[in-house]
Symmetry: C2
Subunit: 459 residues, 2 copies
């Protein structure tokens, strides 16, 4: 399609055009990832350290260096029930901003789980079923990931146990009910079902839980049952691999209207959404020297990339997970209770961290009041109610689009609208009633966070 | 596409293939509609009776007899932001049922408002803005309609006041917040802002409200302010006209895969969703003698078509609206508190009623426990969580598909999945915890309902 003819509001691909393989950025990294370390020995991890909780196929993907990894037929068939996802041209947003920029967004909110999380939940459930596993255990905070894994487990005939942070379990009954409707067992964490949970409850009978505790419970559950494995919704390399389907599709969709982005933007918590939309374009930047800005957007209250340190740290508070080289605010850091639960993580994916360290991507931190102001603005112009996490990306998009306006630049901006906000209206209420607080991250918090980093010596 | 090649999961139309006109079934009715009557004079309504609350363009559509009514460019442009909606082939449902039937569903839940209601909210807002109106007043119960009108009003630069039944206002805070996010003012009804509201509160200070009261308040608000009109989300002929875009699209989508339905199914409250999916096919039945079963599905607890009487009755409890010939349970009937709020209406659209009376369509009533059992079954196979209203259609689809299985018939079943159930999880909880009750409609209720029908003599 030439630029003369009008680009439609929604650019679709046919199911035949669905990518047949995921893109593995490990093949193209200028600096290979530092090895992850065992939390016990502090020596580089081997597959045997992970087999109690992950199937071998996923462990292999975690360290794979092939550029392209084939999507299994059965997964691709289920992808076809809701993918390729539409790419929207944000005409109304452009008009409302008066910007010469052309804004496109990949919308993942039409998936049955309401976000991009199903893209990795399905292959994770598939590989586990192939390995003879009968049940998956996981944790969930905001609930996006727990919902996605509940659906994927049901579709592959697996049971699913979700340890849900107790405060979310109580405050977000609809998320819990959604998972139950898809057949999952949802357990408020800390629980009496695991040693980790009982230990916490003995000390703090009224504990409202945390993601760190819920991870410990799910990992313990998986490690102590032969037929059960653990599944994680972000951070890990195999999760990010699966999410590249977002960017691979977006690239084909933009080709159809003869466009290529100058800027790619995604919100960034653990990193799977930002990686999903940007990595297939970073491929072109790293391999072909294509000019491209990729911007990861995080909350000011949890500014892992912009204020954290590139260091070895644990993935969880209880120091049960492997030690990974990443940007971190310190595993002891408890982020303030901002309303984008999916972005409240002290660390970041090793892949995103390495790319940021090597100067291949940018990062920005935004205040939540700005985020919700832009979320409401987006809903009132484009119609779709964004998840608070996705609205972090929108904030950066608006800023870039206004910069284009100021300079009269016709840049192409692509972002990922990773999910809808139908289960986040309590957060919108906070904004509409002016109850939200903006929390900035202080130097004292940096120092405190860094004090708990583990001492490791690597090769 | 031949039947040999595999039909995709999702059949799309391009934005260029969006219909340019709505279908007006009044052109093809074997029996023309009986005239509606003024509630004051009980004489046939003239346009002057309606101009205080509706713009002339909509009043004209209410009585138009042309077969085809052009969609204004500005409305069509906004339709393009979320339409044509996808037509899904329900492969996984077919497989789970083991039926030879081929099941297709038109999914309206991807619209920004989450249901089909935006299809009429947009043209209603458009025609009102064209007429110089500044504000729209309406009522909402479950909230689907109020959400759609809030979005449409914002997109056309109108203000929007929604009188929300007080019990829903209190029990469904997320729906209220969604409307507020789109800029609407949401008022719990009965309120002190209208004479009708004050009258109720004087008698019943603790009144939890009803749709009938909320309609009275919205109509009074519109009638007493020059710059304000009233908007209704179902029942009326112009609303149904706008919804025919659903069936018109579905017909083109089925043509693309060389299919034509043997059975078309929709849930039926006021009738706009059922009409939307079925009327373009009923056109073929009435004009070309095409064989087709069209089935309207309603709750056993509010069985307007299957147990009501075809008679003149008021559209609301307070006897403020025009008197219309329709199937009715009596305007004094207060349906039990079943969980499909959109189907709790004592009457039905005049168009659906006339077609049913003339034997051109069928009706079925279903119990809500069966509805939710099928809703959960659908979510676990197809992935999408249906609204309780839409799940009434699913119940009938499952029954027909099993009948096909029994008889070895390869019939084609089309239904409308009118919305998602993201704001209805409290109802799902009722089912999952076995708290739902099935209420059948008794002969005594029929008698009581019929006792309040108005005495009218027409022509």
């Amino acid at each position: 399609m030439s630029k003369q003819s009008k680009v439609p509001y929604k650019i679709y691909l046919s199911e035949e055009e669905l990518p047949t393989a995921w893109y593995n950025i490990q093949a193209d990294l200028p600096t290979p990832l530092s090895p992850s370390l065992s939390p016990q020995t502090k020596q580089p991890l081997g597959p045997a350290d992970l087999t109690p909780i992950f199937p071998l196929d996923l462990i292999k993907q975690e360290v794979a260096t092939e550029r392209s990894i084939e999507i299994p037929d059965e997964v691709r068939e289920l992808y076809r029930t809701f993918r390729p996802s539409p790419l929207y041209r944000a005409y109304r947003l452009e008009q409302a901003l008066g910007t010469p920029a052309r804004i496109y967004y990949k919308y993942e909110g039409n998936s049955p789980s309401g976000s991009h999380k199903l893209n990795t939940a399905l292959p994770q459930a598939y590989y586990n079923r192939q390995a003879g596993i009968k049940r998956l255990a996981t944790e969930t905070g905001a609930g996006q990931w727990g919902s996605a894994l509940s659906i994927a487990a049901k579709l592959f005939g697996l049971e699913c146990t979700v340890y849900m942070v107790k405060v979310s379990y109580e405050q977000k009954p609809y998320r819990k009910l959604l998972m139950e409707t898809y057949g999952a067992e949802v357990i408020p964490s800390p629980s009496r079902l695991t040693a980790a949970g009982r230990r916490i409850l003995a000390e703090h009978p009224d504990s409202l839980g945390s993601l760190g505790i819920a991870i410990s419970e799910a990992v313990e559950d998986a490690a102590s049952h032969d037929d059960t494995n653990y599944a994680l919704g972000s951070v890990l390399n195999h999760v990010i691999l699966h999410q590249t389907i977002i960017g691979l599709e977006a690239k084909r969709q933009l080709e159809k209207v003869d466009e290529y982005p100058d800027i790619v933007i995604g919100c960034c918590g653990g990193g799977s959404n930002f990686s999903g939309i940007s990595f297939p374009f970073l491929h072109d930047k790293m391999r072909d020297g294509r000019k491209l800005r990729a911007i990861a957007v995080e909350p000011k209250a949890c500014p892992t990339l912009t204020k954290g340190k590139f260091a070895y740290d644990y993935g969880d508070t209880a120091q049960l997970t492997p030690i990974t080289k990443m940007y971190t605010l310190g595993h002891g850091f408890v982020p303030p209770g901002i309303h984008a639960g999916g972005l409240r993580y002290h660390g970041d994916s090793a892949l995103v961290s390495q790319l940021y360290h090597d100067g291949l991507i940018e990062a920005q931190a935004v205040f939540q009041k700005d985020v919700f102001r832009n979320a409401v603005f987006f809903a009132q112009t484009e119609g779709i109610l964004p998840a608070p996490e996705s609205a972090h990306a929108i904030s950066a998009v608006v800023e870039e689009a206004l910069r284009c306006k100021e300079r009269g630049e016709e840049q192409v901006i692509l972002f990922c609208l990773s999910g809808h906000g139908h289960f986040d209206l309590a957060a919108y209420e906070g904004y509409l009633r002016d109850h939200l607080e903006d929390v900035d991250y202080s130097e004292a918090m940096v120092e405190e966070g860094m004090a708990c980093l583990p001492q490791v010596q690597v090769g």
